[in-house]
């Protein structure tokens, strides 16, 4: 395509100036961008007000869209479920038989647990969740893994609170707007969750790898005791996440740990619960303060 005639400046002074100042403004734009970038890289919370206001504006529309997401997924599930119904039915029946026995056992263990706790004088109970919110968006084209939830400071949400779905840990609150909040997902590379193996409590750190999996790093090095299929849960050290929340299943083994699949795929969880910070006395005073000390206590942020 030939260049359109109006972009040849010709003899017109005005046209020449317009083109010149256009290039000048473009160069200045790049400089301004570089300045903003340096400013936001040195202090991650510097522009959080602007960002949260922006997500607050789009939150109502996104909430409606999120509802339609749930419905459309339901349709696909219904269709795919139709094809696998017979096989699934048999498998589920077997599973229910097993689960019933396990349930009774678990009930007796819970009862015993309660009695023992009473004996020790431990009265701490599971706290009520702060809010139940919808996942209304995620940074699907950036390599950082943030999600937006449909509840903010008006619902009592504060920075640092852990976010979970019925299946397991999702992440923690990073920025709070009045009616929406930004969540750092556990798959982000800057998120570090202290975990332990559910069966015997071998401690490790779970760092995100930005592609939907977690890297597990064992604290005690030596022979790698992990096996495929091991479930890791939060250990509660650092004071941010309540111990015992399911996190991931080990998928591949590495010399110093393994790669684990996240249990609560944020794409499949529609509603999430926001909980209180488990033990504020231990948790870092400012959950978003940078520094290596904080990195070991539940994740540093940018």
């Amino acid at each position: 395509m030939a260049p359109p005639p109006n972009r040849r400046t010709g003899f017109s002074r005005r046209a020449q100036y317009t083109t010149f100042f256009g290039y000048l403004a473009a160069g200045l734009g790049a400089l301004v961008g570089g300045g903003l970038l340096i400013a936001s890289l040195t202090d991650s919370s510097r522009f959080s007000d602007v960002r949260t206001t922006a997500t607050d504006v789009t939150a109502p529309v996104a909430r409606a869209a999120a509802a339609s997401r749930a419905e459309s997924r339901g349709v696909f599930d219904a269709i795919s479920g139709y094809f696998a119904a017979g096989r699934q039915n048999a498998a589920l029946r077997r599973e229910v038989e097993h689960a019933r026995v396990k349930l009774v056992e678990a009930q007796s263990i819970a009862e015993e647990n309660r009695r023992l706790k009473e004996l020790l004088g431990l009265t701490k109970q599971d706290p009520r969740p702060v809010a139940v919110a919808m996942l209304i968006g995620s940074t699907s084209s950036s390599t950082r893994r943030f999600a937006t939830i449909s509840a903010g400071s008006r619902q009592g949400i504060a920075i640092g609170m852990p976010v979970r779905s019925p299946l397991g840990l999702v992440g923690r609150v990073l920025e709070v707007g009045s009616s929406s909040a930004r969540v750092l997902l556990i798959t982000d590379t800057e998120s570090v969750v202290p975990v332990r193996r559910a069966s015997d409590g071998i401690p490790a750190f779970a760092t995100g790898r930005a592609d939907g999996t977690l890297q597990l790093r064992l604290i005690n090095l030596g022979i790698n005791p992990l096996k495929r299929g091991d479930v890791v849960v939060t250990s509660g050290s650092g004071g941010l996440y309540r111990p015992g929340t399911a996190v991931a299943v080990v998928d591949t083994l590495l010399p110093d740990g393994g790669i684990a699949r996240v249990l609560s795929d944020p794409g499949a969880s529609e509603y999430v619960t926001v909980e209180q910070v488990w033990n504020p006395a231990v948790a870092p005073a400012s959950a978003s303060a940078p520094g290596p000390a904080n990195l070991n206590q539940g994740g540093a942020t940018r």
């Binding site: 790049a30 510097r46 996942l135 995620s138 699907s140």
Partner: protein, 183 residues
């Protein structure tokens, strides 16, 4: 340019709507609005646990710039990038910087090759995408994960580009729909 198109269309005797003209407001605002709509893609109801969706705002911007050079000014990267940064999850300023540079590069390429075809346009856009996504990742992360993370997104973005171009062409036709009554 808008003026000349308008005159050409109005002088066409076979047009149905004789005393209609496009709204100048829509004709000017449409490209800005569509780029901003593309930037809003993180608020779509897709919760991804890995970067998968193409950077739609960037693709729409490139398409407009290649389809109608001169419609969006060279400095459009500043306001549009700022809007994109509010939603993309990147540190604020990354899109402002990268989009401004991309537009300047595109302008230089366009002055070098005024006679372009589809393939050249696609190659240039693919080159810009191949530069943009890894740079954006480098800006956003302190510890760079394996580049494999970006591979699916790069492929999807490059192959989605012609489709985005068709969509932008559709918007370009909508932009000049003549619904404003003259006289």
């Amino acid at each position: 340019m808008i003026q000349s198109r308008l005159q050409r269309q109005l002088s066409d005797p076979f047009r149905k709507k004789i005393n209609r003209a496009p709204s100048p407001l829509i004709a000017i605002v449409m490209p800005w609005l569509t780029v901003m709509l593309g930037s809003l893609s993180p608020t779509w109801p897709v919760i991804a646990s890995a970067p998968l969706l193409p950077p739609l705002g960037f693709l729409v911007l490139l398409s407009w710039r290649q389809l109608r050079p001169g419609l969006l000014p060279v400095w459009a990267g500043l306001p549009l990038g700022l809007f994109d940064d509010l939603y993309s999850g990147q540190p604020l300023g990354s899109a402002v910087l990268l989009w401004s540079i991309a537009l300047i590069v595109l302008e230089v390429i366009e002055l070098r090759f005024p006679w372009r075809n589809f393939l050249l346009d696609w190659l240039v856009a693919a080159g810009l995408i191949l530069a943009y996504l890894p740079t954006a990742m480098g800006i956003a992360m302190e510890t760079t994960p394996s580049p494999i993370v970006l591979a699916p997104q790069l492929l999807i973005s490059i192959f989605a580009y012609p489709l985005v171009g068709r969509l932008v062409a559709l918007f370009d036709r909508l932009r000049l729909v003549r619904f404003r009554k003259l006289g």
